[in-house]
């Protein structure tokens, strides 16, 4: 049992003491002294307050004390307080985390910890987790002295959305962020040779990829389309999860090859290449040495399409060299989406997520209501009315 307004109890105690004091103070006539000539005094009344050791009018005193105490207790707002725990951790588990990670997190949960997420719903997004944590926090904060928030997620790029900052600002606690491994891509990884479609029969890239041999693929073998347009089969393959490398063979004739450098994630190739002057679709995945985009990726279904604007001369064997293999293999790497954006967000960018918001929400704890308070106050008022009626009746 606790009180919403303990001050009312003190005020009630003061009121009770005043009531008892009032019953100790008695207004009565002072002691009269015999005076033989008292008849010559004019008639009148006189009273004086005297203090007694024992209160008078016990029943009245009990009635008034009852009214005062009921009002005080009612105003204090008694509520039944559940058992409080010293600390509690809200664990926000990203469903995109690896199964082994999720199992480890579940095993490490304390008795008082509360787990949010860890299921397919909202997996890979923080906003739903934050929303669920905010709703639960209002009830948990009543029974918890210290509330902590722990975020366990691969922290992919798609983990955040436009609502994330606002939701994070509603959660006043600081947050510990733990980056974990993501789910492995769905399906069974395979190694397969790239399927080079279109283009001349003596295409240098066909030869290069043939020389490259099988490469790691998600679920389907990568496709290299050397025509100027993508075919329906290419699109179907991309939707099915394949990496479609749209690398028109005609780009090699768009200009004069010059010595240039191509850089992708983890690979760089320096060779005489033709810069293709056309816009590249999708997010950049390869750049020229001067920063110009050399290749872009557009997600499509479970896979993606990579638009490569790099003219590789058909003559010569530079594409068959060992220095070209990493770039060629890199261009056939898994789609960014299937990688679940792992490592897309730098740790430094997560500082705002871990820190407590500067402006805390105005209402940290919800307004509590005492169920008994209205009844107690009503009973106190009723007793007061009864006392008044009895007093009037006794005077009458």
């Amino acid at each position: 049992m606790t009180w919403l307004a303990p001050t009312a109890l003190w005020i009630g105690a003061a009121g009770a003491a005043a009531t008892v004091a009032a019953h100790l103070l008695v207004q009565r006539q002072p002691d009269a002294r015999a005076l033989a000539t008292a008849r010559f005094l004019p008639e009148g009344t006189i009273t004086a307050a005297t203090v007694q050791r024992v209160p008078t009018n016990w029943w009245w005193l009990a009635l008034r004390l009852l009214a005062v105490m009921l009002l005080a207790v009612g105003a204090a707002g008694p509520i039944r307080e559940p058992t409080r725990v010293p600390s509690r951790t809200l664990v926000l588990l990203d469903g995109a985390a690896a199964d082994s990670v999720q199992q480890r997190v579940r095993r490490s949960l304390g008795e008082t910890d509360v787990l949010f997420g860890g299921d397919s719903a909202g997996g890979g997004r923080l906003s739903p987790l934050l929303a669920r944590a905010l709703r639960a926090r209002d009830s948990l904060i009543r029974t918890t002295d210290a509330l902590r928030v722990r975020l366990i997620s691969p922290l992919g790029r798609s983990f955040f959305d436009a609502a994330t900052p606002q939701l994070r600002a509603q959660l006043p606690e600081s947050m510990s962020v733990e980056r974990v491994a993501p789910h492995p891509p769905a399906g069974t990884p395979i190694r397969a040779r790239a399927d080079v479609r279109g283009g001349p029969a003596d295409d240098i890239l066909r030869a290069a990829y043939a020389q490259l041999g099988p490469v790691d693929a998600h679920t389907r073998a990568p496709v290299i389309q050397r025509e100027r347009v993508l075919s329906a089969a290419d699109t179907a393959d991309a939707r099915a999860g394949a990496v479609v490398l749209w690398w028109p063979a005609g780009d090699a004739d768009a200009g004069t090859p010059v010595l240039a450098a191509i850089r992708t994630t983890g690979a760089t190739w320096v060779a005489p290449l033709t810069r293709v002057a056309r816009p590249v679709r999708g997010a950049p995945v390869a750049h020229w040495e001067n920063g110009a985009v050399a290749a872009g990726e557009s997600p499509l279904g479970a896979g993606c399409v990579r638009d490569v604007a790099i003219g590789v001369p058909q003559r010569g064997d530079r594409a068959l060299g060992a220095d070209a293999a990493p770039l060629l293999r890199s261009l056939l790497g898994p789609c960014s989406a299937t990688l679940d954006d792992a490592g897309a967000i730098a740790d430094s960018a997560l500082t705002w997520l871990a820190a407590a918001p500067r402006v805390r929400p105005s209402a940290q704890s919800p307004a509590l209501r005492s169920v008994l308070a209205p009844w107690l106050i009503g009973a106190g008022l009723a007793v007061g009315v009864v006392e008044a009626l009895l007093r009037i009746r006794s005077r009458a």
Binding site: Q29, P30, D31, A32, R33, A34, L35, A36, T37, A38, R39, F40, L41, P42, E43, G44, T45, I46, A48
Partner: protein, 285 residues
Amino acid sequence: MATHAYGALLDALRATRWGSLVRPRAPLTGAHVARRATPSAEVTEYRPYRQGDEPRRIDWKVLARTDRAFVRLAPDSSVTPTLVLLDASASMVADAPAKWAAACGLVVGLTAVARNAGDPVAFTAVSGAAVTRLPLSARGDALRVVTDAVAALMPGGQGTLATPLERVRAEMRIAIITDLLGDDAETLLTRARSLRVQGREVHLLHLVARHELALDPEVRLARDPEIPSVVRPMRRAEREQYTRAFSAFREQMRDRWRAAGARYHLVVDDQPVADVVRRVARSQR
């Protein structure tokens, strides 16, 4: 012997005589000159012999010289029977021991000065329904008897002084000691006026306490000892009204008793009793 308590008073009044204001009509042998002369060896005047006079009272020498019969007359001395009537009601003693002590002292003092003149003294005290009555006594221990009776008194209730006065038959000097606060004050005055008309000597000793004249400022509420229902506040305004009302009462009593022919003496309880008694005794002259 209660007289020991009044030793100083009696000593102060040893030489005081209470003269008679009215000459007794039927004199007994005493210290006062009687209203009527009687045949005596001490000649003061002669009057012709009348039928019925004793022949032995005829002055034979005058008869021989003048051939006329005269009877020798001489003034006779008499006594004045004195009744001391004491109001022993509650108002005389309530919260005022000095007032009651003064009343008792007055009884003893007046008895003493009356006895100094050889007068027989009777004493009556009225205390509620109880009446203490001592008959006329000219014995030597009359003063002691009165003193013992006063000491034995238990004052209280409301005294009715007019009733004992109805029994007064003889030519008596009556001294009434009261505060005039009884219900029968008017009856008492009427009875006193009647006694004066009958030629009796009436002295009223109106006894008031000092604290009745100047109210105690510490007291906030007063209660009438004789009428418990009379309870009055004593604030400043009430005190001023009281002073005016009580003063008017005293003046009214003085004027009315004097108009009735009585000797009115206002006595405050802190006055020396001997002085008061002397003043009463001197009032005859």
